[in-house]
Amino acid sequence: MKNKLLFLSSLVLVFIINLFAGNIDPYYYTILIYIGINIILASSLNLINGYTGQFSLGHAGFMAIGAYLSVSFSTYFAPFFIESFGQGIFGNTISFIILLLIGGIAAAIAGIIVGVPSLRLKGDYLAITTLGFAEIIRVIIQSLDVVGASQGFRGAYIFENGMKAAMIPADMSSVPYVFYSVPKYTNFFWTFAFVVIIIFFISNLMSSSYGRGFLAVKDDEIAAESMGVNTTKFKVIAFVSGAFFAGIAGALYGHFNLYINPEDFNFLKSVEIVVMVILGGMGSMIGVIIAAVILTILPEFLRGISEYRMIIYALLLIIMMLLRPQGLFGVQLRPGKKNKNK
């Protein structure tokens, strides 16, 4: 009960702040939104890599699916959404909830397709599979004209003769069309509402007895299985829920940036999310949130040397491993006072 009250008041707080968010300088506002999106991405990966002890390396792939699918729907089906729900605040809200869910569910389905076969295998197949998966998704998008291919995607042209396309084909230059750009639905409220949702989702799940299954899988699969925990099931649940939220984050990103490009979801983006989780301390909610904030703001200060970002991440990780292997905020496991007297 206390928990639900806290949840609702957090949402109300986000709503109230949103009323004043118009006064924020656009540059800071953008950073704020990216912070929120990165918190969602890092927390959802934390569920897989931190709490459940798997190693997924393709989170940007799920983000891409969420972004591209929801943006495709909001542009190609714009007439449908406008006709059905109108463009008032109420209609936009309904449209956006549907679009967010489309992004999340599409990513979750991709999560099932990738996760079920690779999580059943013992060992570190997941890192390789997810890495490959994210690259494949990016390459596919790069060659899909319907979403602008490597040019990126800004919206849909709907021609008078019923044709739809992301770019104007050469032979159609004389046909009248309407251009539906990506609607700017994402704002402070939606972004941070999902930050609140994912925080409560993870903390509720991990504090429940059921949620002990995830932590048991991370610590010792054989012991977990022997106590009746279906380890594959728990891995898949963590993986698919992580993918779902990455899809939501993608949908939020697309409807804020209003332009998406396959390169937004490249290997570097996946690594960035992994670094947030490792830096924050695998399985530490607060740590990962703080790391997401820091790693969103940091590149802004380092704009001049942005091509060295990979190197900076690598250095950060190495320093981290040497000085604080448990992450900035991870728990240091106390060494057991094992009095082995055998």
Partner: protein, 245 residues
């Protein structure tokens, strides 16, 4: 059971009756732990079958074996290192809990009642084993003897009908060993379960076990009540043989 060309457990034929406390003894490397791993589905036997309540458990995965009512402890302690004593035991309720993924995240319906019930059951078990005061400590931070007890409690918390204990008294002194054996017997009577218990030291099991199985080089060399086992020439030889190593 064969590993490569090595036969570790060879045509073992035995049983554990309802509410029975059976001891399994044998020298190092006799194959005792391997028998547990076969029963619990960690290993698949190269030939033969394991029946539990008249059904084969060989095709089952380890978690499915646990669901049928077989639970175990590990010789090389396998506690969950990032979890407290209480949370280690909470893992055992995952398989029987009504609240699934959605109820646990939304914390609706009967969620709180069920969590409280689980809490009470855990406390009851911890009380029996004298672990109630350390329930919030990290399980792996406890002394070995207590870690073994946490393992027993964790196994018991799955509500098994057959409990497999792999050297539960290892590393304890003789008094502690005897105490633990009496505790195990008490638990068996209280919860009406069958227990198969591995022990290295013949003397320890003599007092509490109704029947003893002796393994040597993967073969059963004797089986019977403690009195007969103690005087069995083959058993004496196996154990004398061991002391020469």
């Amino acid at each position: 059971m064969k590993f490569g060309g090595l036969t570790c457990v060879d045509s073992l034929n035995t049983h554990v009756g309802k509410d029975e406390l059976v001891g399994m003894i044998g020298p190092n490397g006799a194959g005792k732990t391997t028998v547990f791993n076969i029963i619990t589905g960690v290993y698949n036997p190269s030939s033969g079958d394991v029946l539990f309540k008249e059904k084969s458990v060989v095709p089952l995965k380890p978690y499915e074996v646990a669901e049928t009512g077989i639970s175990r402890t590990f010789q090389n302690i396998r506690l969950f290192q990032s979890l407290s004593v209480r949370d280690n035991i909470r893992v055992s309720f995952v398989k029987s809990i009504n609240a699934g993924f959605f109820i646990s995240t939304l914390q609706i319906g009967n969620y709180l009642n069920e969590e409280n019930e689980i809490e009470d059951k855990i406390d009851e078990l911890l009380e029996i084993f004298g672990l109630i005061d350390v329930r919030d400590e990290y399980a792996v931070s406890l002394p070995y003897g207590e870690q073994r007890k946490v393992e027993i409690v964790r196994a018991l918390a799955t509500s098994p009908e057959l409990l497999l204990l792999d050297e539960p008294a290892a590393g304890m002194n003789p008094t502690e060993k005897t105490e633990l054996m009496n505790l195990i017997k008490m638990v068996k009577d209280k919860f009406k379960i069958s227990i198969l218990l591995i022990e290295h030291d013949m003397k320890v099991v003599m007092g509490v076990c109704e029947r003893i199985i002796v393994l040597d080089y993967g073969k059963k060399i004797a089986e019977g009540n403690p009195e007969n086992i103690k005087n069995d020439p083959k058993v004496i030889e196996a154990y004398l043989g061991e002391s020469h190593h």
